[in-house]
Symmetry: C2
Amino acid sequence: MKVTIIGIGLIGGSMAIALREKGLAKQIIGVEANAAHAEQAIALQLVDEIKTLESTVRESDLIILAIPVNSGENILPKILDLVNKQVVMDVGSTKLSICATADGHPNRKRFVATHPMWGTEFSGPQAAIPGAFIGKGVIICDKDKSDADALTLVEEVYRTIGMHLLYMNAAAHDLHAAYVSHISHITSFALANTVLEKEREEDAIFEMASTGFESTVRLAKSNPDMWVPIFMQNRENVLDVLNEHISQLKKFKSCLEKENYDFLQELIVNANKISKIIG
Amino acid sequence: MKVTIIGIGLIGGSMAIALREKGLAKQIIGVEANAAHAEQAIALQLVDEIKTLESTVRESDLIILAIPVNSGENILPKILDLVNKQVVMDVGSTKLSICATADGHPNRKRFVATHPMWGTEFSGPQAAIPGAFIGKGVIICDKDKSDADALTLVEEVYRTIGMHLLYMNAAAHDLHAAYVSHISHITSFALANTVLEKEREEDAIFEMASTGFESTVRLAKSNPDMWVPIFMQNRENVLDVLNEHISQLKKFKSCLEKENYDFLQELIVNANKISKIIG
């Protein structure tokens, strides 16, 4: 199969490695607006060549859209204009907005909306790694709006690279993604800013930063060019979750202010239940 | 050297493994109030035997206090009552309160207050692991209040198990610990409660939880019996940091409410500076 990947960054690049390793792609074409990234993608052998969108879509079997969600939404209609039998999938972290865009297009059924639940705080072709998606879940949204052959191809690709498939509508995806991914990024960005604000004069102190701190603040290294568009597109859900999170923090604050340590104990015992979910 | 470890949990147990591996301890005695943990500590060969505090302090060269900070503070005077030439060190996450307790004791100079900056979200003897402290920092507080030989022994122990030494007074320690450790735990507990509150009816959805979520919420599994006393003892610093963190979160909230995405971009760009600190 001949695959075009639009955006050879963390996800697009890792997808290229996985497709090649599993023998899914005989040829991989990259479309990459960033000239430095295009060069790196070739140098790292993530793609066989870099082409323009217009020159590669028609001759591809599968087109994977792996750029920030706002750009993805802008470019999708142009891709769908060019396809006839080709399959187009995206891998973005929001689904409602791009699905709404796709819904208006006559070639909607060639598009499959997906979100593989894997990522790191790094970005660009050099962040691409082998074995990235193994054992993780991928959400496929609004599957009934895709042609059966398109859906089957995308499902097969994800299964082959080691992911398990979950199905939901785009609205449900965006709500849940706000809870299990987007809010984690906001708390991490805010935690970084909290520490940077207060500890700016203290260099040595950062030697104190232990594994716990690193773990909670790791996501704060994430790329704003990826995350601002996600927060824009999932604004209402993210605001709801953020309000809830601030209320939860205020409960901890109130316990400390009132020295109500029994309730503090209860809050922590309740938080421990997360073990059931993340193992 | 004969070492007594009071509390054979995550830290005490990992310390036992490290001391044995480095040939620092010829014999390790455990003092453990929890009968099940005492049995596990023997079964896992973390300690050679379990004894009472009274029967082991005098015959030890080094006594390591590795129980929750409130219990540690209660028991320290009893240990210091028993020592003459022995060295006593603690490994607790708060330092001001235990140092104040020690300061009133005639044997104060046999005590060295320390905080090795390593931990995981697990607890008990089964959580103890080899190689735990390697490459991490350890804070030694109020070193001038310890006898030179006691300080030298403790420094030697930490260097030998692979830690680098940092010195500060107990008040500075507690302030910085609030930023680089305690707040991370509160945000993680609160994040777990946020998600558990909203997603209680949704089981399947947790398959969505990706590595980012796991990373930020991992600390929420931490033991309340360890953490409530830490928050009690470091209440004022933790409240200050928590207030700052809530303000930082409100900046994100305000950006989203006002759709001020330029400022949102700025907030994230600023958060990215944490890379300089956690690499």
